[in-house]
């Protein structure tokens, strides 16, 4: 979508030729960074330039920011899915280690990760196991107690939840913040999680722990406080462990909370919608903003608003055909999700059979189909034929879409083959040359196929731009250490 976005935004800037000034350079610079998938740098640079822009340029800047945050939201959703999967695998292995070398804290983090994955029953078991341990520091007992309360709450036992939360001593700012976070996750606005979080932060003084900041991010993100969330992220060390347990002189285990990955995705989604809505207030930019708003609402799971925005884009008479067709695919996806399945499938199939085959459009259809969890059986053969017939760059997006489809189906061998076909091998792991969401998918396919080092290499490169992936890297390293089978060989080359 980046390339398409640049085209559209360039057109928008062209429309504003009369207002062209140095301030437009800020948008162009940010767009270039966006195109290279340097989302953080792009957003921060443009945010800094925003106050100086004239009103006309500001609308283009809002559009650009909306696109940047949308890209970052999709990527962090990918990180979240990968993080939950790998952390669960790793923590389940760790929890099986009992006795002297066994970790006390694994029960807490496994419980929290299971909660994040929606396995409430199992989460409760591990959180209870953690809190039942003797000799725990009150702080960690309180933090676990907050999560255990959430577990009860999500398990429809509000009474047990309230009782559990009542035991948490909020005199400790860490515990107070943890409680604020779980109130947010439970949607209990009446408990004033934002007020609690702010108070806890104040109490913590000048150097709050990264654990506190992550919990505060949960609070802000769930309250829709986008600006505060974005500011907070600037302060946080996203690669820091939530807790490091020392088990003797030569054994330490670092634990991470994967909820932050989901919170970041939510924060970027909100920021995306917010800036795209601002951009849509400008009449000239509205059609382009609507196009992206359709995608941003879909990313946020709001089918109705996605339909409305996409419909608004399609109602513009002179919208370019490629974007128009993609919008029709998106509209069909939303319709499918609303239960209008036959109607949606007919649109997908009609567009998929267009001649000559358009790989980019076929990719969009496959992704829409997969997003709606629809049966893509009728479309897949056309897509496969088009991918095989095409060459090089033109079929890259289609191969990636096929790879994602196979990944969802659990056919990891084919997923790797297709995603590799869509990868720029000259810059194997570089996000500047490869869609980072594709790289996350490829890393997932390699991980599932137990090719850990391929997966780790992808994250190693990605960590230079997104330090938050440390929570995936550490767990994956742990899995690799436990799962590999080799003799201990080394050779000179």
């Amino acid at each position: 979508m980046a390339r398409l976005g640049v085209t559209l935004v360039s057109a928008v800037i062209g429309l504003m030729a009369g207002a062209a000034s140095a301030s437009d350079d800020a948008v162009v610079r940010a767009m270039r960074l966006y195109e290279r998938h340097h989302y953080e740098d792009a957003a921060r640079a443009l945010q800094a330039d925003l106050p100086a822009l004239n009103p006309t340029s500001r609308a283009a800047a809002y559009l650009t920011l909306g696109m940047i945050y949308l890209g970052n939201a999709e990527l962090h959703r990918g990180f979240h899915e990968a993080g939950v999967t790998v952390q669960l695998d790793y923590l389940k292995k760790l929890v099986a280690v009992r006795g002297a070398g066994g970790s006390r804290f694994v029960n807490l983090y496994l419980g929290k990760t299971l909660l994040e994955n929606g396995n409430v029953g199992e989460a409760t078991k591990y959180l209870e196991r953690f809190t039942a341990q003797r000799g725990l520091e009150p702080r960690y007992k309180a933090i676990a107690g907050a999560s255990l309360g959430l577990s009860h709450f999500l398990g429809k036992n509000a009474q047990a939840a309230r009782a559990q939360w009542a035991t948490v001593d909020t005199a400790d700012p860490e515990a107070q913040m943890a409680l604020a976070a779980v109130y947010s996750q439970a949607g209990l606005k009446d408990r004033d999680p934002v007020g609690m979080g702010d108070a806890a932060l104040k109490k913590a003084g000048s150097s709050p722990s990264s654990r506190m900041l992550e919990n505060l991010l949960t609070v802000y993100a769930r309250a829709g406080l986008t600006d505060k969330s974005l500011e907070l992220v600037k302060l946080a060390d996203l690669k820091a462990a939530s807790y490091t347990e020392a088990l003797g002189e030569t054994k330490t285990i670092s634990f991470y909370d994967v909820a932050a990955l989901g919170d970041l995705a939510a924060m970027y989604r909100q920021a995306s919608v917010r800036y795209l809505e601002k951009a849509a207030a400008d009449a000239q930019i509205k059609p382009t903003a609507d196009y992206y708003l359709g995608a941003a609402y879909a990313e946020a799971g709001d089918v109705e608003l996605s339909l409305r925005a996409t419909g608004a884009f399609l109602s513009v008479a002179n919208a370019p055909l490629p974007q128009r067709n993609r919008a029709r695919v998106r509209l069909a996806t939303a319709q499918y999700l609303q239960g209008r399945r036959g109607e949606a499938m007919a649109v997908w199939e009609a567009l998929a059979q267009g001649q000559p085959a358009e790989p980019g459009l076929l990719a969009e259809i496959l992704l829409g189909c997969a997003r709606a969890k629809a049966d893509c059986a009728s479309i897949e053969p056309w897509a496969t034929r088009a991918a095989e017939a095409g060459e090089g760059r033109s079929t890259r997006s289609l191969n990636i879409a096929l790879g994602r489809l196979y990944l969802r189906r659990g056919d990891y061998g084919r997923a790797v083959a297709c995603l590799e076909a869509g990868r720029d091998k000259s810059n194997k792991n570089r996000i500047e040359s490869n869609d980072p969401v594709m790289l996350v998918n490829l890393a997932a396919a390699y991980y599932r196929g137990r090719q850990f080092s391929e997966s780790l290499e992808i994250y190693f490169e990605m960590s230079k731009h997104f330090p938050v992936v440390r929570r995936i890297q550490e767990a994956m390293q742990g899995m690799y250490a436990m799962e590999h089978k080799s003799a201990g060989d080394v050779k000179i080359f």
């Binding site: 280690v97 194997k428 080092s453 690799y480 590999h484």
Partner: protein, 538 residues
């Protein structure tokens, strides 16, 4: 004798004396046999056996020619090879292997093929551990206390202690008792190392005057005859020529594509580019026996003096990543908190000053009247354009801080003798390639200093020795991981090497080759399953 062993022996008693069954024929999997696969290699290996060799080119050949008691499949599972099954005692100290009875050794010239038996397994272990055997493998198998033949098709290993991943260690390649000319040990002078016989899918047929190694299908391979008729290893000194040979159909496969050629191959639909993540890195290794290099500040200064990112970008199109220590970034052992040292020539100069060096009359640094002039030895097989540029860049970077480097290219075998046997060098440029274990013990443990051992630089640090030993003794994966992180930190600080980069690893091959699965380290482990459709066979 415990009950289990009695049962085992009873079973084996029935087996003893049973003649080998008929060797396997074709695979009968519906895929065609035939065709020749020529692959491009980085020079010819000095030895072709699995014991004396310590280089990747040999490893790939031995993978085609030999088998282990067990193998490791694509999903990291241990699978039977020469042993059809095994048992481990409850305390994980005794491993009993029940061998296949249908395995024959490749025939020696003018002789009939002989059956593979437990004698060969015992022989391999003993010859590997013999003090006179030239091998880097001893350190890997020091955990074995004893080996005992139970019958012709039963063999038992007793370990000194249980270890992590023990079964995988028995993937070592077995050689025939009737192979080497000396019954007790194996050296690089033994004819066996150049004309080996194994049990594997391919037989070493000839070595041509062009130094090509021709291997032919083993018709009696116990897993079924491999599909491809012939494998030919073709040596190339220059990576650029190798890719051109592939493009012009002179070869069918390149084991490692020159990073600069990836775009060209990627755009050509005749070829497949397949990544395989060998855990590897390039380095400048220092001889710590040299008084000039004994001070770690000097070695650290050299690292600060070289703009490694610039070198990587300029000569390898940026296709790789800088490393900060003794593990590859794709490894489970890499310490993510240790960052590569930055390019900082001022810091380099300051460190050298602290180490007692001052500029002499000609601008070269000196200490106690001795100039900081060092030799850099590079194997001639590495004399590709890119490598030449790397070493010349290194020379230039060090010249900028007052260090004189004399670059010397040497023939591969001569280079190895200088480095591993005579230790006659100051600095070398080379790469290590690791399997998944990321085991650095043979590289940095002080017991591994000596002729033909991997600690060529003579690095010795009691703390590192202690950690390596502790890592080997532990049965706890997380503890081992923590120890490796510590080792990474210490070795990054101590700088026995200037750790450089890990490069992008792609194999390139013609699309006519089918069912190609590549082992990330050993490469050809699954090559007996590869095939060429009849229409594409030469």
């Amino acid at each position: 004798m415990n009950k289990r062993i009695v049962v085992v022996l009873s079973i084996l008693a029935v087996v003893v004396g049973t003649p080998p069954v008929s060797p396997a024929g074709p695979k009968n999997d519906g895929r065609p046999d035939g065709g020749t696969l020529g692959y491009g290699e980085y020079g010819r290996p000095s030895t072709l056996d699995p014991i004396t060799s310590n280089e990747m080119v040999s490893l790939r050949i031995t993978e085609l020619v030999f088998n282990g008691l067990v193998g490791i499949d694509e999903k990291q599972e241990i699978v039977p090879e020469l042993a059809e099954r095994w048992e481990a005692s409850k305390d994980s100290r005794i491993y009993t292997f029940f061998l296949r009875k249908d395995v024959m050794w490749h025939p020696k010239e003018g002789e009939d093929a002989k059956p593979f038996t437990a004698d060969d397994v015992v022989f391999t272990y003993k010859i590997m551990m013999h003090p006179k055997t030239t091998t880097p493998l001893k350190v890997r198998y020091e955990f074995i206390e004893s080996v005992e033949k139970l019958s012709d098709y039963g063999v038992q290993f007793t370990l000194k202690r249980p270890i992590l991943n023990a079964l995988a260690k028995f993937s070592f390649k077995v050689i025939p008792k009737h192979g080497p000319s000396h019954p007790l040990y194996l050296t690089r002078e033994d004819p066996f190392v150049r004309q080996p016989i194994g049990t594997g899918p391919f037989v070493v047929k000839t070595i041509t005057t062009d130094r090509e190694i021709v291997l032919v299908a083993n018709e009696n391979y116990f897993k079924g005859r491999p599909h491809v008729n012939r494998f030919i290893s073709k040596p190339f000194a220059d990576q650029n020529i190798m890719t051109q040979a592939l493009m012009f159909n002179a070869i069918d496969m390149v084991v490692l594509v020159n990073p600069r050629d990836i775009p060209e191959l990627q755009g050509d639909k005749r070829f497949v580019l397949q990544p395989y993540n060998a855990l590897s890195y390039a380095f400048f290794g220092y001889n710590l026996r040299s008084p000039l290099l004994a001070d770690k500040r000097v070695r650290q200064a050299f690292t600060y003096a070289v703009n490694r990112q610039e070198v990587l970008d300029s000569f390898f199109n940026g296709q790789g990543t800088l490393v900060s220590g003794p593990f590859a970034p794709g490894s489970w052992a890499y310490n993510l908190d240790v960052r590569p040292l930055p390019f900082d020539p001022q810091k380099a100069v300051e460190l050298l000053r602290q180490a007692g060096f001052a500029p002499g009359p000609d601008g070269t640094l000196q200490k106690d009247g001795k100039k900081l002039t060092l030799s850099l030895k590079v194997p001639i097989e590495k004399e590709s354009e890119a490598v030449k540029r790397v070493v010349l860049a290194f020379q230039n970077y060090l010249k900028n801080i007052g260090v004189a480097i004399k670059v010397e290219f040497k023939e591969w075998q001569a280079w190895k003798e200088s480095v591993f046997q005579e230790h006659d060098f100051d600095i070398i440029f080379a790469s290590w390639v690791f399997d998944d274990s990321a085991d650095i013990s043979s590289l940095f443990h002080s017991a591994e200093i000596g002729a033909w051992k991997n600690n060529f630089g003579g690095y010795s640090n009691p703390e590192v020795d202690g950690l390596i030993v502790e890592s080997k003794l532990t049965l706890d994966h997380e503890k081992r991981r923590t120890i490796n992180r510590k080792l990474h930190t210490i070795l990054a600080e101590e700088a026995p090497y200037t750790f450089l980069w890990t490069l992008t690893n792609y194999s390139g091959y013609h699309k006519k080759l089918r069912r190609v699965a590549i082992h990330p380290y050993k490469f050809f482990s699954f090559a007996d399953e590869w095939f060429i459709p009849a229409a594409d066979q030469k």
